[in-house]
């Protein structure tokens, strides 16, 4: 049975994530201390709500440093939704706040990209490959076909400094939204795989099978 540790820091729909990972055959543990994170085989960073609040919750328990230290072990780490946004350098949500800095980039408001869009961006949208040599092979998207739809709900988007770190995008009425990012063993999904039906579950299975 694949083991996965999900960071519990008071920001996320943990039951949904646990159910989805268990449905995919994982042995799920919630971790909320740096000691527990240190022992993890695979790590998932969920997150829903505001960037600054979430980062603060991580920092006050020392979990931010623990996650960064853990990621150097080259084991799979997956950030979901706000969890993906936390992986980059900084966010402009409610001021300027630092993320974990695991993937160079920044988070900006969708409204800044296009004032006319309805916010939050809510709904199912098709995944597109990033168009260059970054393929989905060897990532949790390895068994996903291009054009598969997944569920998004967010008002902010992460952009990576290096295009090579963008794994997938999706189109929101003409705006290109970063859907998935990757740097080495660190992955991020802006969408919710645990809420994207069979397509999402397949990504979770692939993440669990990865090394």
């Amino acid at each position: 049975m694949s083991k996965v540790s999900i960071v519990d820091y008071g920001a996320g729909n943990l039951l949904s994530i646990r159910r989805a990972f268990e449905h995919c055959g994982a042995q799920v543990a919630f971790v909320s201390t740096s000691e527990a994170i240190e022992k993890a085989e695979r790590l998932v960073l969920p997150g829903v709500g505001a960037f600054a609040h979430a980062k603060c919750q991580l920092a006050k328990r020392g979990l931010d440093t623990a996650i960064v230290d853990w990621s150097s072990k080259n084991r799979p780490l997956l950030g979901i939704c706000l969890g993906m946004q936390l992986l980059v350098d900084c966010s402009e949500e409610f001021g300027n706040h630092n993320g974990l800095g695991l993937i160079p980039g920044r988070v900006v408001e969708i409204r800044k990209l296009d004032q006319s869009q309805r916010i939050p961006h809510i709904g199912w949208s098709a995944l597109e490959g990033s168009g260059h040599e970054q393929s989905w092979f060897g990532t949790p998207l390895a068994n996903t076909s291009e054009g598969a739809s997944v569920y998004f709900v967010h008002s902010f988007v992460a952009f990576t400094d290096d295009n090579a770190h963008i794994l997938a995008t999706t189109d929101y009425n003409g705006i290109s939204i970063t859907a998935a990012i990757r740097k080495s063993n660190v992955f991020g999904f802006q969408f919710h795989p645990e809420k994207s039906g069979p397509v999402g579950l397949e990504m979770i299975r692939t993440f669990l099978a990865g090394e």
């Binding site: 949904s16 809510i122 709904g123 598969a148």
Partner: protein, 261 residues
């Protein structure tokens, strides 16, 4: 292009899925999750559970139904009915809800909206708005599951709620609900144009043409459907195909074949 959403709404009374029709009362249809699982298998985008007698009992009784649903339904779930406080919302979310739909408590205590949005995020705070027509271009918001009149103008209330931090509006036409005669397009248009958050429209879907009329004319991008699905007048696939034939994307497909690499 983000696909337009089709959302199944399940009204629950005790252990049963029910459906009310204007002037006819309530009909028991069976176990709610039996229907929810069927819709999930057929590709529904989201599911909404509303406890329609919660106000009478002073609390929402859907938690065990929702917890059960999360075992094998992996699409967003919204829970509503009788949610009065931040603590009620916390319990609902812990039970597996991704979003909460609040009507009565928000009308009576609008500050609740900001409290929920600040603690859990706007994306989980859905305003349930039940609108009854008052005259040309005017609607009043009802509460207590349609039993009481609030005196609030629907469009004004929608704007205020959006400003307070609501992430989405679930708009139901009380006049058209359960009738299958179509949506109140004027109502949907008025609310959709007044706010810049997503609006889910519900109440009256009887044929796919009703949906296409709204897609074409209003630009509202999400539909809540109850009777048409529960009574099998229409299927999710039929609605999806009809929308596609008119040039609109509705719903999502779940093909997961391996990508050619």
């Amino acid at each position: 292009m983000a696909s337009n959403r089709i959302i199944a709404r399940l009204d629950v009374k005790g252990p049963n899925l029910v459906k009310g029709v204007q002037f006819e009362g309530l009909r028991k249809l069976g176990e709610p999750n039996k229907f929810a699982r069927k819709y999930y298998a057929e590709g529904i985008d989201e599911i909404i559970y509303i406890d329609i007698v919660a106000s009478l009992f002073g609390r929402n009784n859907l938690y065990s139904i929702v917890e059960d649903a999360t075992r094998d339904i992996f699409v967003p779930i919204t829970v509503g009915g009788g949610l009065r406080t931040v603590s009620d919302v916390a319990v609902a979310l812990r039970s597996g809800a991704d979003k909460v739909a609040i009507n009565t408590a928000a009308l009576l205590e609008p500050d609740l909206i900001g409290q929920v949005a600040n603690q859990f995020g706007s994306q989980c705070m859905v305003l349930s708005l039940q609108a009854i027509r008052q005259g040309p271009g005017r609607w009043e918001a009802l509460y207590n599951n349609g039993r009481e009149r609030s005196g609030r103008d629907v469009v004004q209330w929608a704007c205020e709620a959006a400003e307070r931090g609501v992430g989405e509006i679930l708009l139901t036409s009380v006049d058209n609900e359960g009738t299958g005669k179509g949506f109140d397009v004027e109502l949907i248009s008025a609310v959709n144009d007044a706010v810049s958050i997503p609006v889910v429209c519900g109440g009256g879907l009887g044929s796919s043409n009703h949906m296409i009329e709204v897609l074409r004319g209003v630009g509202c991008s999400a539909f809540s459907v109850a009777s048409a699905l529960h009574y099998e007048t229409l299927s999710i696939a039929q609605l999806r195909d009809a929308a596609l034939a008119s040039g609109f994307e509705l719903g999502h497909t779940s093909d997961i074949c391996v990508s050619p690499e």
